[in-house]
C-alpha cells in the first residue's frame, strides 16, 4: 500500500465535483420541504434531468443549453407530482416514490440511443494568476462554472428564506398551512412553485452527473444520489449553509473511498463503496437523537395534505 500516491490537493478538488450533484438536488428539496411538501421523487427527477440535459447538450453542442433543458425537464416532471399531491390530494410519500420509479423508467427509455456517446465538454474557470496558484488554484479556482453556481444558489436560497417577504410566506405555509390560508395566502400556488423549484434543482444536479462528473449516459447512473440528497436535508436540519457541509462531507467520503480503492487498501471493495452511505446513516442517527431540537427546525406541516375547508 502506498498512501503517498493520494494527493490531498486533487482529493479536495475532486471532492467538490463529487458533491455538487447532491448539493444542487438537496438545496432544491430544502425549499420544497420548507413549503411543507415532502417530495421523495428527487432520485427520479435527477435522472430525468440527467438524460434531458445530456440529449440537449449532445444535440445542440452546448452544455449551457443542456443544463437549462435539464432544469426545465425535471421541473415539468415535478409538476406531475405537484398536480397529484396539491390538486388531487394524493399521498405525498406514495406519489414521490412513484415519481422516482417513473423517472427512472422514462429516462432509460429516452436514453436508449445515447449510451456510449461523449457530451460536449464544459468550460472551466480560468482566472489569470488565481487559477495558477499552487494548491489553492486547483482547489478553488479551476472548476467548471456549475460548482460556483451551486454555491451561489445556496447563498441566494439562504437570503431568500431569511430576509425576503416571499421567503417568510413560504416558511409560514410550511409551518401552518391552515393559518396561512386564513391570512389569505395561496397555499397551493406557493407549494406548486416550491415543488417546481425543487424539480429544476434536482434536474441540474442530474445533468451535472451526466455532463461533467462522469461524463456519459448510463442507465441508473444517479445510483441513489437523490436519496442521499433527501437525507442531507434532514442532516442540515433545513438550514441552507449546512447543506453545503453535508454534501461536501458525503462527497469527501466518496472520493476518499475511491482513492483508498486505487491504492489497494486491504478491505473488500464493497465495504468501501458502502462507506459514504453508512456515514450518512450514522450522522442521521446522531442528528435525530435529540428529538426536541430536530423537531424545532422541521417545517410543522411537512407532508401533511392541505385542503381548504370553508
Amino acid at each position: 500500500m502506498d498512501f503517498s500516491s493520494i494527493s490531498i490537493v486533487s482529493l479536495l478538488a475532486t471532492l467538490m465535483v463529487a458533491a455538487t450533484p447532491i448539493l444542487l438536488a438537496a438545496i432544491g428539496e430544502l425549499v420544497t420541504e420548507k413549503s411543507g411538501v415532502l417530495n421523495l421523487g428527487v432520485e427520479g427527477m435527477m435522472i430525468f434531468g440527467a438524460i434531458c440535459g445530456f440529449i440537449a447538450a449532445v444535440e445542440t453542442g452546448s452544455p449551457l443549453i443542456g443544463f437549462i433543458a435539464a432544469a426545465a425537464g425535471a421541473a415539468a416532471l415535478s409538476l406531475l407530482f405537484a398536480i397529484l399531491t396539491q390538486y388531487l390530494l394524493a399521498n405525498q410519500v406514495a406519489s414521490g416514490l412513484a415519481l422516482t420509479l417513473f423517472g427512472l423508467g422514462l429516462a432509460a427509455l429516452l436514453g436508449h440511443k445515447y449510451t456510449g456517446i461523449k457530451p460536449p465538454s464544459s468550460p472551466k474557470l480560468d482566472l489569470p494568476i488565481l487559477s495558477d496558484l499552487p494548491v489553492i488554484g486547483p482547489i478553488l479556482f479551476n472548476h467548471d462554472y456549475m460548482i460556483y453556481f451551486s454555491i451561489l444558489l445556496v447563498a441566494v436560497v439562504w437570503y431568500f428564506l431569511k430576509f425576503t417577504r416571499k421567503g417568510l410566506v413560504l416558511r409560514a405555509v410550511g409551518e401552518n398551512h391552515d393559518a396561512a390560508h386564513a391570512l389569505g395566502y395561496k397555499v397551493i400556488r406557493i407549494r406548486v412553485l416550491a415543488i417546481m423549484f425543487g424539480g429544476a434543482c434536482a434536474g441540474m444536479g442530474g445533468a451535472y452527473l451526466s455532463l461533467i462528473r462522469v461524463p456519459q449516459w448510463t442507465e441508473g447512473m444517479t445510483a441513489g444520489a437523490g436519496w442521499i440528497a433527501l437525507a442531507i436535508v434532514v442532516f442540515a436540519s433545513w438550514k441552507p449553509w449546512r447543506i453545503i457541509l453535508g454534501a461536501y462531507l458525503f462527497g469527501g467520503v466518496t472520493i476518499l473511498q475511491l482513492n483508498l480503492q486505487a491504492v489497494g487498501v486491504d478491505i473488500p471493495v464493497s465495504y468501501l463503496s458502502m462507506a459514504p452511505y453508512l456515514v450518512t446513516i450514522i450522522v442521521l442517527v446522531i442528528m435525530s437523537a435529540d428529538r426536541k431540537r430536530a423537531s424545532l427546525n422541521a417545517p410543522a406541516s411537512l407532508g401533511r395534505i392541505f385542503h381548504a375547508s370553508n
Binding site: 417568510l168 396561512a180 410543522a300 370553508n310
Partner: protein, 499 residues
C-alpha cells in the same frame, strides 16, 4: 349612531346544509356587537363572509356606506376589517415580528416594525417582546400578538372569535380594558363568544343565530345568562345537579409524579401529588399549555412514569400501558376528539373497539366479535343520545358535540373505577355540554372517582367537589370547590399559591 357594517339577506349554502339563511343586521360605529349561537348555528360562516374567506351565494354587505364584497382576506383587510381567530392563526416556529408581518399588507422593515410593535403594545397595555418565538408564548400572550397584528392596520371593524376561551380571569380583564379603549377611539367590534356573562358586561347589542337564521336581537345587559342561553338553544335548559354523596375510599393516588415533556413547546410535570376518592369529582383548572396534555398522557398510560408515582386502589401502575390500566378500571378520554380520542376515518363501531376491546371482551383470540361490538356501540349511542345516522358512520362525520358525547360515553358505559377526562365540553353546544356534565355527576354518585381537566372555570365550579390548578407543570393543593372565589383561582392560574 351611524352604521359601519350592514348585512342584508346574506345566504350561504353548502351541500346538505344552509349555513346562513337571509342573515341581516347592522353594526354601529364604535359599537361592541355580540354574535351568539350554538355550534353549527352559522357564526363562523358569517364571519368568514365578512372577512372574505367565503363568498355569499346571495345578499349584500355595506361597509362605511360603500358596497362591500371582499373577494379575499386581503381586500377585507384593506377596507379596514381585521380578525382575531379562535384557533390562533400563528406560526410557532416564527418570532412575534415575523408573525405580525405575515398579517400585514405592506409591512415595514423589521427594525421599524419592531419599534411599531413596542409602541402599540405600550399604548394598549399589551406587553410583548417582538423577538420572542411564538411557540414559547402563553395563550394569553399569543392572543396579544394577534390583537397587535390587527391594531397595526388601524381597523375600523375588529372581529373576535371566542377570544377569552384560553385566558385567565385576569387576562380577560386586561383584554376588556383594551377593547373598551378601542371602542372609545371609534373602532367597532364584532364579538363572538359562548360565555354569556362576558357578553352581558361587554356588549351593547347582541344578535342571536340559530340554524343559520337570526332568531333574535337583544340588549345583553337587560337579559340574564339563562335567558340568553335559552334564546340560543330555543328550549328551556336544565342545570345539572349532583346528588349529595359521601366521599369513599381513596381510589387513585399520585405521588411526586414528574414527567419530561416530549413536545418542544410542551410543559414538563413537576411533583404532582393528589388523591382521588370514590364518589369524588376533582376539577383541575389552569390555562392550556401548563401541563394538561402531559398529565393526561401520564394518567392514560401513553407516557410511562415511575411505577410508584401512580397507584390505583393501592396497586402501583406507573409502568403500565393504556390497556392494562383500562383492565384495572382507569379509563381516559383525551381532549382532541378527532385524531386522539377517535380515529376520524373509522366507523363508530371500530372506534369503540379501540378502547373497549379487552375490557368489554369484544373479541376472542384476536378475532373481533362483530355482534358484541355493534351492540356495545348501539348502547353508547342510545344512552348518550348521540345523533348519527348509524354505527357505520365515520367519527369525523359527527358534529363536535355528538362526537364528544360518543367519546365520553364510550368510557362511561365501560363502568370505570376512575375516569379521567380532558376538556369534556370544549367547543360543544350548551345542551350537549349539560348532558355530558350530568353524566359525569351521575358516574361519581355511583361511586367512581372522576378527574376533570378543563379550562372552563364555570364548568369546574359546577361539577367539582374539590378543585386544584395546574400552573407551569405544578399542581396546587386541592381544596373544596365551594370555598374558592374566581379571583383566587385567577391568582392560582398565574402560578401563585394561595394560603
Amino acid at each position: 349612531m351611524s352604521k359601519l357594517l350592514r348585512l342584508n339577506g346574506l345566504t350561504k349554502a353548502y351541500p346538505g346544509v344552509i349555513a346562513n339563511n337571509a342573515v341581516s343586521f347592522d353594526i354601529g360605529t364604535g359599537e361592541i356587537h355580540a354574535l351568539l349561537g350554538e355550534n353549527g348555528a352559522g357564526k363562523s360562516t358569517l364571519v368568514k363572509m365578512i372577512y372574505g374567506l367565503v363568498k355569499p351565494d346571495s345578499g349584500e354587505m355595506e361597509f362605511a356606506g360603500q358596497p362591500f364584497a371582499p373577494s379575499e382576506p386581503r381586500a377585507a383587510r384593506q377596507s379596514g376589517v381585521a380578525m382575531v381567530f379562535q384557533h390562533f392563526s400563528l406560526f410557532e416556529a416564527l418570532n412575534v415580528a415575523e408573525n405580525i408581518a405575515l398579517g400585514m399588507e405592506n409591512p415595514p422593515r423589521s427594525n421599524i416594525l419592531s419599534k411599531q410593535i413596542r409602541e402599540v403594545s405600550a399604548k394598549y397595555g399589551l406587553t410583548i417582546d417582538p423577538d420572542r418565538l411564538v411557540g414559547d408564548l402563553s395563550a394569553g400572550e399569543r392572543q396579544r400578538v394577534e390583537i397587535i397584528r390587527c391594531l397595526l392596520q388601524d381597523p375600523k371593524l375588529l372581529i373576535m372569535d371566542e377570544p377569552t376561551s384560553v385566558l385567565t380571569p385576569q387576562e380577560v380583564d386586561t383584554l376588556f380594558i383594551t377593547l373598551r379603549k378601542l371602542q372609545a377611539e371609534g373602532t367597532s367590534i364584532l364579538y363572538i363568544s359562548h360565555k354569556l356573562d362576558e357578553i352581558r358586561t361587554l356588549c351593547e347589542h347582541a344578535t342571536v343565530l340559530r340554524g343559520g337564521k337570526v332568531v333574535g336581537t337583544c340588549i345583553p345587559s337587560q337579559e340574564t345568562a339563562k335567558s340568553l342561553a335559552e334564546m340560543m338553544v330555543g328550549a328551556k335548559l336544565q342545570t345539572p345537579k349532583k346528588a349529595a354523596t359521601e366521599l369513599g375510599q381513596p381510589l387513585l393516588k399520585l405521588e411526586n409524579l414528574s414527567l419530561q415533556s416530549k413536545d418542544p413547546f410542551g410543559t414538563s410535570l413537576r411533583n404532582i401529588t393528589f388523591m382521588l376518592r370514590a364518589g369524588e369529582i376533582l376539577g383541575i383548572g389552569g390555562v392550556a399549555g401548563n401541563g394538561q396534555d402531559e398529565l393526561m398522557l401520564a394518567l392514560s398510560g401513553e407516557e410511562l412514569v415511575d411505577a410508584n408515582a401512580i397507584s390505583l386502589k393501592g396497586e402501583f401502575i406507573g409502568q403500565l400501558g393504556p390497556t392494562p390500566r383500562r383492565m384495572r378500571g382507569l379509563l381516559a378520554a383525551p381532549e382532541e376528539r378527532l385524531g386522539h380520542a377517535a380515529a376520524p376515518d373509522m366507523s363508530l363501531t371500530e372506534n369503540s373497539l379501540l378502547t373497549a376491546f379487552y375490557r368489554q371482551r369484544l373479541g376472542r383470540r384476536g378475532f373481533v366479535n362483530k355482534q358484541a361490538s355493534e351492540n356495545f356501540t348501539k348502547a353508547i349511542i342510545q344512552q348518550f343520545d348521540v345523533r348519527t345516522p348509524g354505527i357505520t358512520n365515520t367519527a369525523k362525520s359527527l358534529s363536535g358535540g355528538n362526537l364528544q358525547k360518543f367519546v365520553v360515553g364510550r368510557e362511561i358505559v365501560q363502568n370505570p373505577t376512575v375516569f379521567v377526562v380532558n376538556q369534556p365540553t370544549w367547543g360543544v353546544d350548551a345542551a350537549a355540554a349539560a348532558s355530558i356534565r350530568q353524566a359525569l355527576l351521575e358516574l361519581a354518585s355511583n361511586g367512581a372517582g372522576v378527574l376533570v381537566i378543563s379550562q372552563d372555570l364555570d364548568e369546574l365550579m359546577e361539577v367539582s367537589d374539590n378543585f386544584a390548578v395546574l400552573a407551569e407543570g405544578r399542581l396546587s393543593k386541592p381544596q373544596n370547590a365551594k370555598g374558592v372565589t374566581v379571583e383566587e383561582i385567577g391568582l392560582m392560574m398565574g402560578g401563585s399559591e394561595i394560603a
